[in-house]
Symmetry: D2
Subunit: 142 residues, 4 copies
Amino acid sequence: MPSNDNKPFTDIAAVNAMFAAHFPDNETRAIVTEMRDGFAALELKSDARHLRPGNMVSGPTQMALADTVAYVVVFTKLGITPMAVTSNLNMHFLRPCLGPLVRAEGTLLRIGKTSATIEVRIFGEGHSEPSSFSTVAYALPK
Amino acid sequence: MPSNDNKPFTDIAAVNAMFAAHFPDNETRAIVTEMRDGFAALELKSDARHLRPGNMVSGPTQMALADTVAYVVVFTKLGITPMAVTSNLNMHFLRPCLGPLVRAEGTLLRIGKTSATIEVRIFGEGHSEPSSFSTVAYALPK
Amino acid sequence: MPSNDNKPFTDIAAVNAMFAAHFPDNETRAIVTEMRDGFAALELKSDARHLRPGNMVSGPTQMALADTVAYVVVFTKLGITPMAVTSNLNMHFLRPCLGPLVRAEGTLLRIGKTSATIEVRIFGEGHSEPSSFSTVAYALPK
Amino acid sequence: MPSNDNKPFTDIAAVNAMFAAHFPDNETRAIVTEMRDGFAALELKSDARHLRPGNMVSGPTQMALADTVAYVVVFTKLGITPMAVTSNLNMHFLRPCLGPLVRAEGTLLRIGKTSATIEVRIFGEGHSEPSSFSTVAYALPK
C-alpha cells in the first residue's frame, strides 16, 4: 500500500483499522487523529493500566505512544509499512503527564532509503508544555 | 526503607511484593530474580499482550522492562525508593526479541545525590546476545 | 551574575567575552548571536580544523556547538552559570553539514532545580533543514 | 581495503596512518592502541586544547574520542571504511575526566548490513570507573 509518487498518505481510517486488526491486545489503544505530510498525532484515553500513583500516565505508556506516532509519521511518506522497525528511541521525561486524555505529536526530521528519524512531543490533557520529548529512529525495509 | 550504611539492599521478596501491590494492572508482570550491589535482573514470561507479529516481544515491553530493572538497581543502593523517577531512557533495538521468557539485566554506571545512570541489556529466551541495549537515568528524591 | 527575578538574561556581549576569556584555545570559536528567554543561537565560521573530506563540518564540531548553545540557553534563565555541567548529549546526524558558516539554535524544553533539558538544531550555510538534531541535559549547581 | 572473509581487521598501524593523513588538523590526535574482533581502544594525550577549568577533559573531546573509537570498531569487522558515517551518538557524562592520558574503549553491540551500534567507555588517567558512557550508531555504505 505505497503512497503514490510524492503525495502524502493520510488515510487515518486505514491506519486505525490496521492497528485494531494487528494489535488487538495492545496495551495502548491509541487512535490516530491527524496525518499530514511528515506529521501525525495520536490520542489515548488512558485508564488504570496506564497510570501510576498520582494518576500520572506511566513512562512505558508514553514510550509506546512515541513509538506508535513515529510509525504513523513514516506511513505519511511510505504508506502503511508493517516491516519498518524501531532502531532507537530516546525519551526525556520533562513533567508529570496527567490524563485521562494524552496526545502525541510526531514530526519527521529526516527520511532516507534505509532509515527515518522523528521527533515526538507528548502532552497531558489540557497542557501546552510537553510531558516528554523523544526522538525515534526507524529502520526501513527495502 | 533505606539501606543501612553502605550495605546493599537485596531483599528481592520485598521488591516483588511492592510491585505487586502498587502496579496491580501493570502490563509488565516482571519478577525480580537477582539483586546485588549495583546490579539487578528481572524475568518476564511474555504473553499475547507483549507480542508482535512473528512472536517478537514488543519494543514498549522491552522499554518497560528496562525502566523497571533500572529502578531496582537504584534500590540496591538506596533501598526501595518510590519517589525516584525516570528522567531519560535511550534504547537501541539490536535484534528480534523472542520469548516467551525475557530477561533484563541492569548495571549501575553512576549514582550521585540527585541522579543515577544505569545500563540495561535485554535477552530473549536462550539468547546470549542482547535484543536491546539501553541507558536509563533516574532523578532521585532528596 | 544571576538574572534578576524572572527577567531573562540576554547580555550577548558578556557571554562572548566570558567564552573568549575562559576557552582561549577552544577548538570551536562560535559567536553567540541571539539570546531570548529560553532560546539562543550561535554561529561558527568553520575552517580546516572543523572539516572532513568533502568540506563537511565534522560531527565533533557539531556536538561542541550543540553543547555550547545549550549552555547559553541555560544562561538565559539563570545568568552566566559556569558550574552547570553537561550530563547527557544525544545527537542524530541527519544530513551533511556544509559550511563555512554553521548556525546552532537551542530551545529550552524544561528547567528545574537540578537539571535543564534543551533541544538543538544545527544548520549548514543556506540550509533550511537541520544537519543534526540533538537534546542536551545540563546538571545545575545549587 | 576490506577484511578477508570473517577474519577481523586489526592493522593498527594502517589505521593510525590513515588518521594522520586524512585528519592532519584534527583537534583530537588520538592513537589507536588495540584492535580485536569487535573491540578497539584509543589513547589521547590531552593538552590545553582539550581541557576545561580544573584540568578536566572537555565534553566535546570525549565525544570526538567516542566517535573515533566506534569508527575503529567498525573497521575490525569491515576493514577501513571511510564512507561509514555516524548516525547517532548518545553520551552520558558520569564523572570528571582528568588527564593528561585519556583512554577510550569501544565494543560492538551489533553490526548489520546498513548500520552498526557500538558502546564506548572513556577513562581518565588511572581511573577504573568511566568518565563517560556512550552508544554510537554508524550508517554503513553498501
